[in-house]
Structure formats: C-alpha cells, structure tokens
C-alpha cells in the first residue's frame, strides 16, 4: 500500500488537471479534441518500446513489433490528423 501512495497521489492530481483542463468546449472541437487526447493516450508507446526492447522469443518479438507499430500509428496518425482537422481554424484567406 505504502508504495502506491505516491503514484496514487500523482494519479489523483493528474486527474484533477484533466478534469479542469477541459471545461467549455465548442462542439466543433469535440472531434479534434478527442483525436488529440487519443494521440496523447498513445503514450502507451513507451510501454510498447520497453516491452519490445525486452523481447526474447519470436512470439514476443512479433507481439512487441505489433505493439510498437500500433502505438506508433496511434501517435503519428493521431497528431497529424488532429492537425489536419484544426487547419479550418485558420482565418480563411480573402477569396474575392
């Protein structure tokens, strides 16, 4: 239990930050925000790298490769696609 106090403290505080950070989001931003936070949750890539780095057998190598690849797709695709969606918020250039 004791050893969990610190991570739990951190977890609680981070959750508070998460709750506070999002307050009034216009619906048009729902999808980009979801996509962006999804990309952040791709932080699991760290776990994937560590796991893949430790692999010994073939199966685990395959699984490790898959894990890294999927996590990378999530991260790279996620941030890029979010950026694309957000491009619309640049003021439109004069068309006339």
């Amino acid at each position: 239990m004791e050893s969990l106090l610190i991570p739990i403290t951190v977890f609680v505080l981070a959750s508070f930050v998460g709750f506070e950070v999002i307050s009034k989001v216009p619906p048009t931003l729902h999808t980009p925000l979801m996509s962006g936070s999804n990309a952040i949750s791709g932080i699991a890539i760290i776990g994937a790298i560590i796991a893949a780095g430790e692999t010994t057998g073939v199966l685990s190598a395959v699984l490790g490769f898959l894990a890294v690849a999927m996590a990378t797709i999530n991260v790279v695709g996620g941030f890029l696609v979010t950026d694309r969606m957000l491009a619309m918020f640049r003021r439109r250039p004069d068309k006339r």
């Binding site: 998460g18 780095g53 490769f65 695709g77 890029l80 950026d83």
Partner: protein, 456 residues
C-alpha cells in the same frame, strides 16, 4: 541516460501534454496545443529509447517505421468527412497496443501480484477498446449497418460476457500469469467489445469512441503503475479524466445521458429521428457550432424570413451582427422580395432593429456573391431559399427567383423544425452536405449563438 534526468524529462513531457490539452479546447489555440502535445510525445519516446536497457532495437525500429508510415498515410489520405472513423481506428490501435504490451510483459514472466493485476486491467481495457473501436469504425464507414444491431436477451448476454471476462482476468492473476488465461481474457473481452458496441446507433459512435479513449487513458495509467513510470501515470490519468469530461460534454450536447448512450441498447441517432425520410439526413448543429462557423468566416450573408418576424428576432439578429462585425466579419443581409408575409416585412423589422440600409441587398445583387460567401445564415426563411424553385418545374414555386444560399460554402439554417413554409413544400436545402440546421426559435437561437460567438 541518468534515470533522474529521464524522470525530469518525462515530467516535462507530461507538462507539455497538459498545456497541449488545455490549448486544444479553444479554437484559437487548438493547433498549437496539438503541436505541443506532439512535442511532448517526441520527448517521451526519445527519453525512453535512450534510458531503458534495450536488448533488440530492430523490433522497435521496425515497429516505429511501419507505424509511422501507416500513420502518415492514413492521416493524409482520409477524407475530411471520414475523420470520426479514422479516430476510431487510431483509438483501437492504441487499445490494442496496451493489451499487447501487457501480453509481452506477461511473456517475460516472473511477475508479482501487483504487476499481474495491472496486466489484467490493461488486457481488459485494451482488448475492449480495440474491438469496440473497430466495430465503431465499421459502423461509421458503413461496413456494418449504422442502425442498432442487437439480439433478444442482449443485456443478459453482455452481462454474462462481462462476468466471464472478469473471471478470466481473475484466474489469470490467481494462476500467477498463465498465458492461456491471458489469451482467454483477450478473447472474451474482445467479444464483449463487439457485442456491446453493435447495438449502439451510428450517430452515437463518437461518444463511444470518446468513452473508449478515456478508458484507454486509464489503461495507460495502469501500465504506468506497473513499470513505475510517472509519465504514463500522469498522461494516462490526464487523458482518462479529460476524455471522460469530453464524453459527458458530448453526451450533453446531444441531450442524452451517458448510460443512455452506452446501455440504451436501442438508442436511435437523434439526427435521423428528425428526418421525415430515412434517406435524407439533416445535420443538426448546436449554437456553438454555428458560432464557430460564423466567427471564423470572412463573409456572412444573412437571409431573414417569416420566422424571424414570428420570433421577433430582429433585435437578436442585430446583436449577432454586431458581435460578428466586431470580429471583422463582413455581414450583409439578403432581402428576398417575398420574404415574410407582406411586402417589406423584413424592411420593417430590420429598420426597427436599426440595421444599416447599406447592409441590405436585393436578390439580384447578392445572388452573384453567394459562391464567394463563407456562410449563408438563413433565419426563419424557407420558401425563398428553396432550390426546388430552380430545379423542379412542377413545384408550386417553380420559376420564382430564389436566394442561392446553397452556393455558399456553408449554410446555417435557424428554424424550429424541418416543417415546410408558406408554400407547404419540403426544402432539399436542409439535407445538403454543407448545411447545418440549428433547431430553435429564432430569437432564442440567435441569442445563444451570439453568446457563443463571444467565447469562440
């Protein structure tokens, strides 16, 4: 790398995530927020590569390269309209990765109970996220019927599956990490993801994805407990909490409750409920959506109609005009000759609200400009913007010149429902791709849009 240094760098990455997420929730800063978050991710990945004792770089490198290529291609190629699907897929991959990491950890063997518990949690959430997201994708992409799919007794079936998944996970822990139980957990949980998402209507999919996203954040956080990485704990908790808030916001915007969406079994898409014809779907918008469309436009043409008069929304309209022009948006009014119920009906109202005569344009003058107009804002008008007048020679309004709002980039229509106007005929304008419907009394609706413009 010095592990303490690594710790501080992870902290910086986490801080970047926080700031990034914060900025992502406001239109003006969203882009830079996304970039900050991406930077944070880069930092985290590099630190991980440098810090940990990596045995084989090849597997990692292969994974990174393949993943990046696929990711870039997906992000570039997919059409703007298919974004929700794409996010579903990406989310699924994230969940899948979490589950796989847990499986690999397990394969490495020699784990304490605490690790096993977290592994089990990761597998549970990861697998359900993966299959659930994939089903969501299939529904959105039209690979599976969008309408809810379920079987009799679904509720009990799902409960059973959930119990089974939990049991498998518990056995997995109890058995000290037997691989077979891990795979069993994956299988059962994956199945649960499928059967749980299939009965949810297509229009609710974004909520499901957001929910699963929040869950995958928690999974990442759980992983953080295992590998004692505060970076994971923080980012995971952050996404978990933010995702949860976002989910509730989305649900609220749809006037639903989360339980309703996830367990309503036969939830029908509200967008479609309004359409009197199942093939034509009108896109329902919120005042905030409309506010953003208007606030970021260069030119807006307002088309007032009888509904503006009925709602006595002229003052509210004027107020909106002011807040838009204050932002530099060019606002004009297009007055159709027969808008309203008497000649000059709109003139009377707009004069009362002291709208500048210079802003009023006749049909002929403004029709030329619609193709260069960012947003046409139709307020309580219907017949006078009905494209059938141009297209259908048998329509009762055939031959009447109309305001060609459908040629604007985006059309926003403010009215209470999809019901017809004076001429009593349906209006195909409402079902166009580039039309957003704000269903509201014009006065109320415009006031809300004005309030939202101030926050946009």
């Amino acid at each position: 790398m010095n592990p303490t240094l690594a710790g501080y760098l992870y902290l910086i990455a986490a801080a970047l995530f926080i700031v990034g997420l914060r900025r992502l929730s406001s239109p003006a800063t969203a882009r830079s927020g996304n970039q900050l978050a991406a930077t944070g991710m880069l930092v985290a990945v590099i630190v991980t590569l440098a810090d940990r004792q990596i045995l084989s770089y090849w597997v990692i490198l292969a994974g990174l390269v393949v993943g990046s290529v696929v990711g870039v291609v997906l992000a570039r190629r997919v059409e703007m309209t298919a974004m929700p699907q794409l996010v579903a897929v990406l989310n699924g991959f994230g969940g899948g990765a979490s589950a796989l990491v847990a499986l690999v950890e397990l394969g490495a063997g020699d784990d304490g109970t605490r690790t096993l518990v977290t592994v089990a949690i990761s597998v549970l959430i990861g697998a359900v996220t993966f299959t659930g997201s994939m089903v969501a994708f299939a529904k959105l992409q039209g690979l599976v019927r969008g309408a809810p799919i379920s079987y009799p007794g679904q509720r009990w079936g799902d409960l059973l599956l959930a119990a089974a998944a939990l049991a498998a996970a518990i056995v997995l822990v109890a058995s000290g990490g037997e691989m077979v139980w891990a795979w069993t957990t994956v299988a059962v949980t994956g199945l649960l993801g499928v059967t749980r998402v299939l009965p949810i209507g297509g229009a609710d999919m974004p909520v499901v994805i957001s929910f699963l996203n929040s869950a995958s954040g928690l999974a990442a956080s759980a992983a953080g407990f295992v590998i004692e990485s505060n970076a994971l704990v923080i980012s995971g908790a952050l996404v978990g909490a933010a995702g949860f808030i976002l989910t509730t916001i989305m649900v609220k915007a749809m006037n639903r409750s989360l339980g309703d969406v996830l367990f309503g079994a036969f939830g029908v898409a509200p967008d479609q409920a309004d359409a009197d014809d199942s093939e034509k779907v009108a896109r329902r918008a919120t005042p905030e959506d409309v506010a953003i469309a208007l606030a970021y436009a260069r030119s807006v043409v307002v088309v007032p109609g009888y509904g503006l008069a009925v709602a006595q929304a002229q003052h509210a309209m004027r107020e909106l005009e002011e807040s838009l022009t204050a932002r530099g948006v060019d606002v004009r009014y297009a007055i159709h000759p027969v808008a309203g119920r008497m000649p000059g009906h709109m003139n009377v109202l707009l004069a009362e609200a002291d709208v500048d005569y210079e802003r009023l344009y006749d049909l002929d003058d403004i029709n030329r400009d619609f193709p260069h107009t960012d947003v046409a804002l139709v307020v309580g008008a219907n017949d006078v913007v009905n494209p059938l007048a141009r297209e259908d020679p048998n329509s009762p309004i055939a031959g009447m010149p109309i305001l060609d709002v459908d040629r604007a980039d985006t059309v926003v229509v403010v009215k209470r429902s999809l019901s017809p106007g004076f001429a009593g005929i349906d209006n195909p304008l409402f079902y166009l791709e580039n039309t957003m419907m704000l269903f509201a009394d014009a006065r109320q609706g415009l006031a809300e849009v004005t309030a939202a413009v101030k926050d946009a």
